[in-house]
């Protein structure tokens, strides 16, 4: 259960740390494969990072992620849905 929902910059920072991405700050438009060159381990690691933030992404949804923004939107959507007062 997420304690609080992270803003995009904090979320992106957690992703950069978890995936050891050496480039500068991540933009919402950064594409996971084409721009960040995440391989399949990295994409799995990405799911682990998101789950550590309290959100489980289903298999089918994970396959459709194209950008960092897609991951963030899914994170917020599921985090909100799991909040008791949402």
């Amino acid at each position: 259960m997420p304690a609080s929902i992270l803003d995009f910059d904090t979320f992106a920072h957690r992703l950069r740390q978890g995936l050891r991405i050496n480039s500068g700050p991540l933009s919402k438009n950064a594409r996971l494969v084409e721009d960040l060159r995440l391989d399949s381990f990295d994409l799995t690691e990405l799911l682990v990072v998101v789950e550590e933030l309290g959100v489980r992404v289903p298999e089918e949804t994970a396959e459709s992620f194209e950008t960092v923004g897609d991951v963030y939107i899914e994170y917020v959507r599921r985090a909100e849905a799991s909040e008791p007062d949402a």
Partner: protein
């Protein structure tokens, strides 16, 4: 406990199928549970259809498909037909289709296969040679097996020496070598594992998502369950990759007693177990880490996290193996739990000497103890340069000999001769020593890099990187450093003749991804003439790696 050993893989498969256990396929969200006896009936029909296409003893069948009931059936069918199986690797997510096509065709060609079965999408994408009469889909052969072609199975005679598996895990992609694994080696090696971890056919459930083109997935999991007749619960690797929390949930759902993974999966699971729902892992007797360097930190973190879900810490162990030993070289007896040997990390790196120190020593480095060599496996430690025998507790190259050490590489007498010393001792290329009889691995002599349990050769990474515009041809070094999230972290060091360093780094990253499907963790660009080489111009990878570690490389 261990049943008497019949003469051949074939007769063992036949006996095991009658024991009443089943295989559960987790290809979709609906598990498909099939008795092994039914798998074997299907496999016998499929074997008959293979025989109608000329497959028999001394032949090889290549299989290209994701983990499914059909793939497992086709592996068994190949063995029932008396032939050897080559399970071909699937494409990596980032890798280019061209590279995948080239690698697949190379292996099919070198394997001199009689028949290739593939998933239809690979045939449609032209991964295999077009109009090749030896290529068909799993589905087409299965359809033929339902008809007349499936009703005339002729059982080959028992031949323990018949090759069961041709495993292409050695050699760079330019020069792959197929490890010839006879059926007798498979049975002997599995008996060696069962001697340490006794099989309980009624109760055991082997849970795996490892790829079947990997020896740990094919031999230590699938063939183990098939030949001992115990339950197998098997998922395609893509399902774990797409949802890593599933592995532990499957262990709970299906009462997994046995599971074996590379280190990176334990690292991920240890973090997920802290957050997820409470699971019941109490049935698990045997949870092993193998096929990439075992991190004691990760083992301890995982054990702590999993204990909260009922895992017995004594179920944890580290194993050591390679395809040239069929799969397993050493494994601790069940119930020992994971243990370490603590040595001076500085002396280890600088003098290649394993000096034992107390755990609170400033240079203390914990190394995984991988148990004693399996039954029948002889081991000695030699000086890698001179071949001189060392004392067992001195650090040196591990050499092995025994009934599950394979005879060599397929049609490569040169490579076979290079791998063995006189007296049938196989050079493993691994550096290690024995701690009170337990194998401890400290590193590798070969420059091979291990990522996610997969062997990656620096030559392949270097070839990819030097094709980039602005990189000086022949002036690239690739190496792995430990401590990466997914095994070794890949580092590329390249001399450049371009000022556009960001573009060059980006292109190298892309080129490496195309060829091996991996993202390098770091790329260092050097001025021309500064890459470490010998006087004859050969690349000095280990010097380069140590300069990288000590930050002595001056990047442009």
């Amino acid at each position: 406990m261990t049943p008497p050993q019949p003469a051949s893989l074939l007769s063992r498969l036949e006996q095991a199928a009658d024991r009443g256990a089943d295989a559960t396929f987790l290809v979709t969200d609906e598990p498909e549970r099939v008795p092994w006896a039914r798998v074997q009936d299907d496999a016998r029909r499929l074997a008959s259809a293979m025989q109608a296409r000329g497959v028999g003893p001394e032949h090889r069948v290549a299989l290209l498909g994701s983990t499914s009931r059909l793939l497992v059936t086709a592996i068994e069918a190949t063995w029932l037909a008396g032939a050897a199986v080559i399970v071909l690797p699937l494409p990596t997510r980032l890798g280019s289709e061209e590279e995948f096509r080239a690698q697949t065709r190379t292996r099919v060609g070198l394997g001199e296969v009689t028949l290739t079965l593939a998933d239809p999408e690979f045939v449609a994408a032209g991964i295999l040679a077009p109009d090749d009469p030896t290529v068909t889909t799993f589905g087409e052969l299965a359809a033929a097996a339902v008809g007349a072609a499936g009703s005339s199975y002729e059982r080959p005679s028992d031949d323990p020496d018949a090759t069961a598996i041709l495993q292409f895990t050695s050699g760079s992609t330019d020069d792959p070598k197929g490890v010839v694994i006879p059926g007798r080696c498979v049975l002997d090696n599995l008996a060696g594992i069962a001697d340490r971890v006794p099989v309980d056919q009624e109760d055991d459930a082997v849970m795996t998502w490892l790829p079947l083109y990997h020896d740990m997935g094919l031999v230590a999991n699938a063939a183990y369950a098939m030949t001992y007749g115990c339950r197998l619960v098997i998922a395609p690797p893509a399902r774990f990759i797409g949802s890593p929390a599933k592995w532990m949930e499957w262990m709970d759902d299906f009462g997994g007693t046995w599971t074996l993974v590379p280190n990176f999966a334990l690292s991920m699971a240890s973090r997920l177990l802290v957050h997820g729902d409470r699971l019941d892992l109490s049935r698990c007797r045997c949870l092993g880490s193998g096929s990439e360097p075992v991190s004691p930190d990760v083992m301890h973190r995982f054990t702590d996290a999993a204990s909260a879900h009922g895992l017995d810490p004594k179920a944890m162990y580290a194993a050591y193996g390679m395809a040239e030993a069929t799969v397993c070289i050493s494994v601790p007896p069940m119930g020992t739990g994971f243990t370490v040997d603590v040595v001076d990390g500085v002396t280890l790196e600088s003098d290649l000497d394993a000096v034992r120190v107390p755990p609170d020593h400033p240079h203390a480095r914990a190394l995984a103890r991988c148990g004693p060599p399996v039954l029948g496996m002889e081991m000695r430690i030699c000086d890698p340069d001179t071949g001189k025998l060392q004392s067992a507790d001195a650090l040196g190259e591990i050499e092995i000999r025994g009934p599950s050490v394979v005879p060599g590489y397929f049609q490569r007498p040169d490579a076979t001769a290079a791998a063995f010393r006189a007296g049938g001792w196989l050079r493993t290329g691994d550096l290690g020593y024995l701690a009170q009889g337990d194998v401890v691995i400290c590193g590798r002599l070969k420059d091979m890099i291990i990522v996610g349990g997969r062997n990656v050769f620096p030559e392949d990474l270097e070839r990819a990187a030097q094709a980039v515009e602005g990189v000086r041809t022949g002036n690239v070094i690739a190496f792995g450093i430990d401590g990466g999230r997914k095994g070794d972290a890949v580092v590329i060091v390249a001399e450049v003749k371009s000022d556009d360093t960001e573009r060059v780094k980006d292109d190298i990253s892309k080129a490496v991804a195309d060829v091996v499907g991996l993202r390098p963790e770091d790329i260092v660009l050097l001025r021309p003439g500064t890459l470490p080489k010998t006087s004859s111009g050969k690349l000095r990878r280990s010097i380069c790696r140590s300069r990288y570690r000590t930050a002595e490389l001056e990047s442009v």
